[in-house]
Symmetry: C2
Subunit: 254 residues, 2 copies
């Protein structure tokens, strides 16, 4: 089963669009066992209310890809959930290929990459590895932080046609052309979600981070066309993670 | 001592501009001990002919940041060399900060980041952490692969001024403004090295990858203005790594 189908079916069955971003602030590397325990506890507390787990360097760097992280992925899979590595890959092709091979070997079902790096000797090798192994590739289209306007929000100029295109529109079109399994668009920019959804239709689902800690509103993002909502610190740093997860998962399926 | 001074003094003392990219193709994660041994052997064979070591995910993913990689960094430091993490960071600010904190805690003297992510809530936290800890930040300006033309080579349009600027020129200007410790420009595009060197002068040194395996020529890159040459597979996959390192380090100081 493809990654795209796997997450869609999980979301449908469990009636939730919430992707848990299992992020924690920097901790002394000596405290690795505590960090792993904390991650497992949050997963245990919220797994009925989420459709996938996204892991970032907050965990892979201290825990190690083939140590703590792999153990965590096994637990995520045991809960019937797919695991996404948010590595924002943006290297040359041969390195991207190696990165994809290691993350997929550790058990990740999909990874996130930056289309800015281009196709030839860029992202093509990641897509090749992903399709061979029935894994997913999700592309960044517009990020959720203020500085995103500098790059994702810039206008690019085609000197042959004289056409001016917003960078994020160009990225959305590449996601279609390259048959990506999703794009990331910040919940902080709902008008961009709508514009990108207009391009992608139902072919490529939109993942929207920035709910809560970064100020993006869940309902607005869904109305604009977001299929999945990525929620991190709002849940992981909560006094009661279950309560927040229940609230968010019910809110936007209403 | 700042990272910029540290690498400059090492290069001057040892009369070499070569930064060793300690990259190896994907290997079964079970073979981690062999991979670490191989990396140590190459380091041992070429350390007199290099001024720094650059590590990428080829090693950090299988070895773990605080396991094999940290051990390797200790060996690199014991040889009097700085260690650079080529993580091409391009996340939101709070994540970038956590990434920088972990890599610096593991002992890295500098890391590489993608300016596409912007300043506010983007790269600013990395620069803040770096300067607090006297570490370095090197920015991508133009990469060495073919697909680089899509992003790094695109033209950006300022709707207020009507001005058209190549993306890599915009990145070079940001490197100056943000006081980066270096920029990366592929040896495969020597005319871009010259153009970026024109902008940066001697203030921000140019690191040039793509020598050998990717077809870039060392002498041309140096003539165009590259201060450091990043060499990976040409050395790490050689029958005799020392021979290649000696040849490359003598060539371009002539």
């Amino acid at each position: 089963m493809s990654f795209r189908t796997k997450i869609a079916e999980t979301a449908k069955k469990k009636k939730t669009r919430i992707v848990l971003a299992l992020d924690f602030p920097y901790q002394n590397p000596e405290n690795r066992p505590t960090l792993l325990t904390k991650a497992q506890q949050v997963l245990e507390a919220v797994h009925p209310y989420i459709c996938a787990v996204k892991i970032n360097h907050h965990l892979t760097l201290p825990l190690g890809t083939f140590n703590g992280t792999q153990q965590l992925i096994n637990n995520i899979h045991a809960r019937g959930l797919p695991a996404i590595m948010d590595c924002k890959a943006n290297d040359i092709g041969s390195t991207n290929q190696t990165i994809a091979e290691y993350y997929y070997a550790a058990g990740f079902d999909a990874l996130i990459a930056n289309p800015f790096v281009g196709w030839e000797e860029g992202l093509q090798p990641i897509f090749d590895v992903a399709h061979k192994q029935q894994r997913g590739v999700i592309l960044l289209a517009y990020m959720s932080h203020k500085g995103a306007a500098e790059g994702y929000g810039q206008t690019i100029y085609n000197s042959e046609t004289g056409r001016k295109t917003p960078q994020y529109v160009s990225f959305a079109k590449k996601a279609l052309k390259w048959n990506a399994d999703g794009v990331v668009v910040g919940a902080t920019v709902p008008e961009k979600i709508a514009e990108i959804h207009e391009i992608l239709g139902e072919k490529v689902p939109i993942y929207s981070p920035g709910i809560g800690a970064q100020g993006g509103a869940a309902e607005t993002a869904v109305k604009a066309g977001a299929r999945y909502l990525i929620v991190g610190r709002e849940i992981t740093l909560a006094q009661n993670p279950t309560e927040i997860a229940v609230k968010l998962s019910s809110l936007q399926t209403a």
